[in-house]
Amino acid sequence: MDFSLTKELIDIQKAAGEFAKGEFDPDVALEHDEKQAFPLQIWKKAGKLGFIGVQIPEGYNGQGLGLLENTLITEAFCRQNSGIGMALALSDFGSELIRKFGNEDQKKRFLPPIGQGKSLITMACLEEDSSLTVPATTAKIVPDGFMVNGKKSFVPLGNLAEHLVVLCGVHSGNDPEEAIIIVKRNEEGVESLSMGEKAGMRMIPMDYVYFKGVKISKEGVIGQPERSPFYLREIFDEVRIETGAMGVGIAQGGLDMALEYSKKRVAFGRAIVDFDVIRNRLADMYADVEMARLITYKAAWAFDRGRPDKRFSVMSKMIPAQTACRVTHEALQIYGGQGYMKEGRIEQFYRDAKVLNLFLEPGHMQRNLLADEIAGKRGHSPREV
């Protein structure tokens, strides 16, 4: 057993950290957070330097790196700024479906611009009620392809992305089937509507996306439709680990700030870092961050070895999400009044951390999945992804 990062991994971690320090200007972050705007310029720059879509193979202009590398980058980015970090991490949302299950043509066509920071892609999988149960968004089989109708909710960058990977229900034979289809955002009949202002993760605007008789050629279908639930399961496990990386980064960023602040803030004649209560709190925060990190790294490592560990994937969303909330909560408290002010920066981390438990699936879903894994499934389990 070896827990150390290789030299290559340390180099990547360092490079990502330096990029974030240099490029994630706090004022720019504040401005994008207030306007609920995706950091387009930073994303382009990150793409040019090879920090976006890093799991895309080199043959398709990617970096050919693994999920562990991706995890380290996402963590470093979120550590510097939770909002920008999440925005960059989600700028290739859904591309993994193409990389892993797409055909050669699709890979050639869609992947290269993603890795270069030239094209945003997103995934539209959730229905109005935020569930995944047999999609109400349908793809009807027509000559030469499909006709897509319906409405998706919680689509990250639904208005900005050039392509959407859409989960559809297909009603062909007796059994309802599913298909995952790549749709061009500016295709006729595709419309998006902002889901409105939200409390955090504001650099990833969320949209409803409507499909009104959108014609898609057969070439847009990813893999074999009947295998779609399996594809989705794989991708969700991967996204859970990426979410874990965000959580670890946000928590670490909160801890960094709390440490820095408590060393310089003086009360009752001494730096507050000298108070017992603050010291104990910082120690708890540190331990929390390390635990979350271990779980996430192990999940990513197992994934890269080609033997994903379902339990660890699930826990790597569950634990870092809680950790990020707890640590940023404590950090904000250590900051006191300044922590509640926008200029204090920690409040953004606190707001952003909260989404980790809600994003993609509610927190109790991970417990249900983990319970299924360790205690066996119950009679009528809700659809599992």
Partner: protein
């Protein structure tokens, strides 16, 4: 047996306050949140309806009513989810200093305006480098004949931009004995040398005009000092009991509201053909939160009763302020979780409440200070 004995008059007043807020505040809250401040007109409307400073004696334009009216008003205001309209801060935290400690002339000059809503008040203790540690404030008041000359800076001051009258905590540099060097002065807006800074940008309380205040050679008559020379710290200690109690009240009332919206949401929201309130996991979460809120409410009501009897309950109020505000933050978290992804969206009231509630463990004395006070008074 009820802990608090509400009379028929109290109940009538509650109905009146609720109707007023539903008509005059709730429809405008979103707009005020965007504008970052509430309009002066709402203060005046509250004055006209006798909803401000109800405890002020009739001789000064008030109604001389008991503290339960303040409790009712704060609870009903909490239902609006509009934290920016800091009327309880004015009526039950700031103005009581004037009523209790000002000399006759300033009382006659200011109290009627406080009651009518023509004068909005604020209190300024916190400074950029001094939050919890009040004794180390740096704003100074140097004596000069019948006046004092004030220099310094305050921050995080609620009602900071709107305030017409400020209670300002200052230090006398000539006084060397710690805690006896602090005084409170009434400072009118518009006094030369008193400048209001820009509105601070915050995580929540967006319709509250929290601001920085600056004083440079600001001349204030000595007659505007509250109480005896050097009595500032004692007065603060005495009046902070009610401030902390109000804070606990707003926390409990806020948590009650959040849970009420959440239960309604869970009863309406369907998942796999049944309301999500029918799922065991959600039911237990709701029950756990309801239990915490009831515990908080029972403790709080007992303290309100004790406070009205004039008991000294420093330890208990410090405990209540810390525990209820942390409870309200926990409840906000739990309620947002029960809303699923939607709770994160500002169109649901829980999103704003979640942002707003987070400051409560920090303001009115951080919860760390509360625990320190309790420890001290428990003789630890």
């Amino acid at each position: 047996m009820e802990i608090l004995r509400y009379t028929e008059e109290h109940t009538v007043f509650r109905r009146k306050a609720r109707a007023f807020f539903e008509k005059e505040v709730m429809p405008y809250t979103d707009e005020w949140e965007r504008e970052g401040v509430v309009p002066r007109s709402i203060w005046k409307r509250m004055g006209v309806e006798a909803l401000l400073c109800m405890d002020v004696p009739e001789a000064y334009g008030g109604k001389g009513l008991d503290f339960l009216y303040s409790v009712i008003l704060a609870e009903e205001l909490a239902r609006t989810n509009c934290t920016g309209l800091a009327a309880p801060l004015h009526s039950d935290v700031v103005v009581p200093y004037i009523t209790a400690y000002a000399s006759e002339e300033p009382k006659r000059r200011y109290l009627p305006g406080c009651v009518s809503g023509d004068l909005i008040t604020a209190i300024a203790m916190t400074e950029p480098d001094t939050g919890s540690d009040l004794a180390s404030i740096r704003t100074t008041a140097v004596e000069d004949g019948d006046h004092v000359i004030i220099n310094g800076q305050k921050t995080f001051i609620s009602n900071g931009l709107l305030c017409d009258l400020l209670i300002l905590a200052v230090k006398d540099p000539a006084e060397e004995i710690l805690y006896q060097n602090i005084d409170l002065y009434l400072v009118e807006a518009g006094t030369p040398g008193f400048e209001k800074g820009h509105k601070l940008r915050k995580m929540g309380w967006n319709s509250q005009d929290t601001a920085e205040l600056f004083f440079s050679d600001c001349r204030v008559p000595k007659a505007n000092r509250l109480g005896m020379k050097g009595g500032g710290f004692i007065m603060l200690m005495e009046k902070l009991q009610q401030e902390r109690l109000m804070c606990a009240l707003v926390a409990v009332a806020g948590a009650e509201n959040m849970l009420r919206w959440t239960i309604q949401y869970c009863e309406e929201r369907m998942e796999s053909g049944k309301p999500i309130s029918k799922y065991q996991h959600n039911q237990f979460k709701i029950v756990e939160m309801a239990t915490e809120i009831r515990l908080g409410r029972t403790f709080l009501d007992k303290l309100i009763a004790d406070h009205m009897e004039g008991k000294s309950i420093v330890v208990e109020v410090a405990m209540a302020k810390y525990w209820t505000t942390e409870m309200a933050i926990r409840v906000a978290d739990g309620c947002m979780d029960l809303h699923g992804g939607y709770g994160y969206y500002e169109q649901y009231p829980i999103a704003r409440a979640w942002r707003d509630v987070r400051v409560m463990s920090i303001f009115a004395g951080t919860n760390e200070i509360m625990k320190g006070i309790a420890a001290k008074f428990m003789g630890l």
